[in-house]
C-alpha cells in the first residue's frame, strides 16, 4: 500500500470512528461531557490531519514509493477470520466443546492445503481436534475450574 493511501485510509477511519461516537453522544451533561467530547474532537482533527497529509504526500510521492511489506495471504486470513466468527456463533448453539472440536478440525483442514493426501489431512485434523479439545477440557474445566460457555450440546 502506498504511504499516501495508508494516510488517507487512516484519516478516514479516524473520522468514521469520531462520527459513530458523536452520533451516540447523547444525554451527557456537565463534567461528563468534557472527556468524551474532547476525545471525539481530537480524533476528528487527527483524521482531518491524516487525510490532508495523505493528499499532500500523494502530490510529492514518487509512483514507486510503495512500502516493502510482504504480501498478505488474504484468502487464508479470510478463512481463519470467517471460521472464527462462525465458531463464535456456534458456541451458544452447539456448546463450547462441540463447537471447538468442529472449529479445530475445519480450520486445520482448510489451512493445511499443502497436505495433498486428503485421508492424511482428515486424520491429522481429527487427531488435533480431539486431543486439543480434551486438553482444554481437562486443564480449564477440571483443573482450573474456568467456566466455558454453555450450549445445547456439550
Amino acid at each position: 500500500m502506498r504511504k499516501s493511501t495508508a494516510d488517507i485510509l487512516a484519516g478516514v477511519s479516524f473520522l468514521v470512528i469520531a462520527f459513530i461516537f458523536l452520533v451516540q453522544f447523547d444525554g451527557e451533561e456537565g463534567i461528563s461531557r468534557i472527556f468524551p467530547l474532547g476525545l471525539i474532537s481530537f480524533i476528528a482533527l487527527g483524521g482531518i490531519w491524516c487525510v490532508a497529509k495523505g493528499i499532500w504526500r500523494r502530490k510529492t510521492e514518487q509512483p514507486a514509493a510503495f512500502s516493502s511489506e510482504n504480501k498478505t495471504g488474504w484468502k487464508r486470513v479470510g478463512i481463519i477470520a470467517g471460521l472464527s466468527i462462525l465458531y463464535g456463533i456456534a458456541i451458544p448453539i452447539l456448546g463450547f466443546f462441540t463447537s471447538t472440536g468442529i472449529f479445530l478440525f475445519t480450520a486445520f483442514y482448510a489451512l493445511n492445503t499443502q497436505i495433498s493426501n486428503v485421508t492424511v489431512r482428515v486424520g491429522r485434523g481429527l487427531t488435533f481436534a480431539i486431543l486439543f479439545s480434551l486438553a482444554i477440557w481437562v486443564s480449564f474445566v477440571k483443573l482450573l475450574n474456568v467456566p466455558t460457555p454453555a450450549g445445547f450440546l456439550f
Binding site: 500500500m1 479516524f14 461516537f21 472527556f35 480524533i43 463464535g88 458456541i91 472449529f103
Partner: protein
Amino acid sequence: MGVAVNEFILPSFLNLLDPLNIFLMIAGLAGGIVVGALPGLTATMGVALMVPVTFSMDPTNGLVMLGAIYVGAIYGGANSAILVCTPGTPSSVATTFDGWPLCQSGRADEGLYTSLLSSSFGGIIGSFFLLFLAAPLAEGALNFGASENFWLCLFGLSTIAVMSADNMGKGLVSGAVGMLVSTVGLDPNSGIPRFTFGIYEMVQGVAVIPCMIGLFSFSQVLFLIGSQRQHIAEYHPRKGTFGMIFRYLATKCKVVLMRSSIMGTLIGILPGAGGEIASIICYNESKRWDKDPARYGKGCIEGVASSESANNAVIGGSMIPMLTLGIPGSAVAAVLMGALLAHGLQPGFKIFTATGELTYTFIASQFAVNLLMIPVGFLLCKCMARLLNLELSIVAIAIVVLAYIGAYAISNSMVDLWMVVLFGVIGFLGAMVGWDAGAMALGVILGPMIEENLGSCLQLAQAADGGLMTVMAGGYINKGLIFALILSLLTPFLLKWKNARKNKTCDKGATNA
C-alpha cells in the same frame, strides 16, 4: 527494628525451610506461570481460584502459596508476550514491544531469559521495600489524590510520544481512540450508560482483557496466517545464552533494572496504578535515558528488562498499602487482602506486631519465591519455547480457542468474546494503515483512570477557592509530574534535534577532511 529482626524476621526466614512451604512455593509458582502465560487468565483469577483451597491449610502455608501464584502469574505473562506477541496479563503489554521483535529475529531464548531474570530482580527489590520501608512509603502514598493520579496517568500515556516517535500523529490519535473505547459503558461521574450502541450488555463497558487479547492476540493470528510462514519464528537455542544474558544484565543493565524496579515499587504503592502502568512508564523511561533510543522496539534487551522488572516490583509495592493501611494497591492485592482477613489477619500497622511472625513469613516468602522463580521459570520457559517449533497453522488455530476461552472467563459474557474478534480485526486492518495497537491499548488501560480522576478534580475545583489551577497544579507532587510529562512529550523532538546536530557535525567534519 532490631527487636523485629530478632523476634520476627529471622524466625520467618527459618519458617520457609519447612519442606511443605518449599513445595507450595514451587507448585504456586509453576501454576502461576502457566495461568499468567495463558491470555485471558490473569493473576487475579489465579489467586482468586486458589483462595478457597487455602482455607483448609495453615494460614502460613496458604498465604505463602497465594503469594507464589501472584509472582508466577505476573512473570508468566511475559512468556506469551515474547513467543506469540500476546501479553498473558495486561502487565506484559510493554514486554511485547521488544520481546516479540527478539522472537522474530530468532532470539526468543534471550527474551525469555531476560524476562525471567529481570522479573526475579524486580520482585526482590519490591520485597525489600516491603520488608524495610513499608510504613514511610505507605504514608507517602496517602499524598496521592485525584490530581496526582491524573498527571501520573497522563505521564504514562505520554509513552506514546516516545513509542511512536516515527509516526507520532497516528500514535496519539490511536491512543485517543483507545481512551474513547474505554468510555463505553457507565459514566464514572454520573452513572448514566453511554456509547452502548443499543446493546444492553455494553453497559458493562469494554473489558480491558478481551480488548488486549483482540488487539495483540487475534490480530496476530491474522498476521501470522496471512504471512504464509511455516513457523511463528525461527528458534535456534544456543548453549550459554542464559549465562550470557545474566552477565549482560549484571553489567550493562544494572541501572535500567534498578531504576525500573524502584519506580515499579513506588507505582505499585499507589492504589489503582498496577503493573500495566508501571511497566509502560518504566519502558518509556528506559528508552528516554538510553544513549541510543532508536534500538528500542527492535528487539532490545533493555526494553524487556525494564518492563519485566517493573511489573514484578509492583507486587511488593502493592502489598505495602494493603498490609499497612488496608488499602490494596491492585486487584490481586485486594484478593490477597480478602485471604488475609479470612485467615484472621487484620491489615493495619499492628499487623507487624500482633501477627508479626505470620506477616514476616509471608514477606520473607516473597524473597524466596523470586529466587525460586529462576529454576522453575527456566524449566517452564524451555518447554514453552517449543511452541515455536510447532506448525504455524496449529498454533494460530489453538490461539483462537485460547483467546475465546480466556475472554469468556473474565465475566462469563459472550460479548467479551465478540470484543476479541472486533478488536482483532481492528488491530489487523488498523496496522495496515498505520494505527498503533500499543498506543490504543495504552488508551484503553489508562482511559478510565484519567477520566475518573479528571472528573474528581473538576468537581473539587468547583468547591476550591483557587479553582482548577489550584487543584490540578497545587503541591510539589503535581508540579513534579507536570514537569516530567512536559519532558516526556518533548523527548522525541529533543532527540531529533540532537541527532540532526550530531549529523551536521559529522558532515562538517567530513567536508573539512
